[in-house]
Symmetry: C2
């Protein structure tokens, strides 16, 4: 068995987080693509509580929950840290990563997938949270949330760095624009040009086709 | 200004988490009770994103989100660690603390505060999550989730160590019993007899009176 295995799904931004961190660290791993419609018995054994990807298996021991995995990776392989050293900066990074998971991602899910009559309100809320995140980056004045190099928050925000544009295109929506979020769009350019990031992302045309068909199959109008 | 200040609310188990950690560490602090119906301008300044307690202010810098604060406290004051040293054990502790926040607490909130016709299902789900947590403690075979001393998960679980019994009494419910959760009830005894914990908990009679009146004022039947 390989020392490091990752059970993931190619269209899961949470799985991509783990790949990004492993690539930033230069850790070799075996990737196992899970079929989410028919999960493997190994996945269920490794993550009996949530039965979800991603699961990182290191020396036969499973670690689950993407943000928990990211911190584990950073503590286990010290090179190219994705967490700051200072306790206050570490707390700040954890705060924003949690903000992305608790507020931003659910809001964007709603904005993209809710019924027509609920969509405008959901878009407004999603943009409000994204502006909060953009303001943080603007106040820091650095290229990345992690400073000069990508860190926990950048990796946690990968949905916004890549997926969002494709989902907007697939749904024929354009509520997040460069004009409204100039600092964030600069970040997207920087983020998506990092080699560890580029190598971890699914091909755009494949994603676009998948999501276009999902939006078309939706009973709600797009 | 004191070096360490805590903005909290006496009936918030999230605020109590921070007090417990500070007491375990022996860190002196000034406690400021917030009126949640009329939050202070300082609280809003320190936590503009969520506008919630608890907020820890250390050297004039605010830290928010209770689990983030606990890790900050552990990294800043090294004595009496509440996090394990080994990265895998650290990941495990973070996983269970997150499980408590994401699954257990919302489920118990539903079980206690939902309409009569939704209550049975909510109770079942809450007990299912609590059993998952109990199984983890049982498998560890230690006095506390933290091992021989209380750690992150014990502190995160303080709601179950103290509040739950009082809420059940106030609502005249008894769906979580010692017979069903023997390992968990042993943990409650150990947990609530630690001095750092006892000192951080609001008086039982005050809590009981507050919650009895809340349940009585509810439009749902208890």
């Amino acid at each position: 068995m390989a020392e490091v295995k990752l059970f993931g799904a190619s269209l899961s931004p949470f799985s991509r987080r783990v790949e990004m961190a492993l690539k930033v660290k230069g850790v070799e791993y075996e990737y196992i693509e899970e079929n989410l419609a028919e999960k493997s018995s190994l996945l269920l054994e490794y993550n009996p509580v949530h039965k979800k990807v991603p699961v990182l298996v290191h020396n036969r021991k499973p670690i689950v929950e993407s943000l928990v995995i990211l911190e584990y990776i950073d503590e286990t392989w010290k090179q190219n840290p994705i967490m700051p050293e200072d306790p206050y900066d570490r707390a700040t990074a954890r705060f924003w990563a949690k903000f992305i998971d608790d507020k931003c991602l659910p809001a964007f899910w709603q904005a993209l997938w809710s019924k027509e009559n609920e969509r405008e309100k959901a878009k407004e809320e999603a943009c409000h949270h994204l502006k909060t995140l953009e303001n943080e980056l603007n106040a820091k004045g650095t290229k990345f949330f992690g400073g000069g190099t990508i860190g926990l928050v950048d990796i946690a925000a990968n949905f916004f760095g890549y997926w969002l544009a494709i989902l907007q295109e697939a749904a024929e929506m354009d509520f997040v624009t460069k004009e409204e979020f100039p600092v964030f769009f600069d970040w997207i350019d920087e983020f998506s040009s990092c080699s560890a990031i580029k190598e971890s992302l699914p091909a755009k045309d494949k994603m676009l086709a998948v999501f276009q068909s999902r939006f078309k199959a939706s009973t709600w109008k797009y």
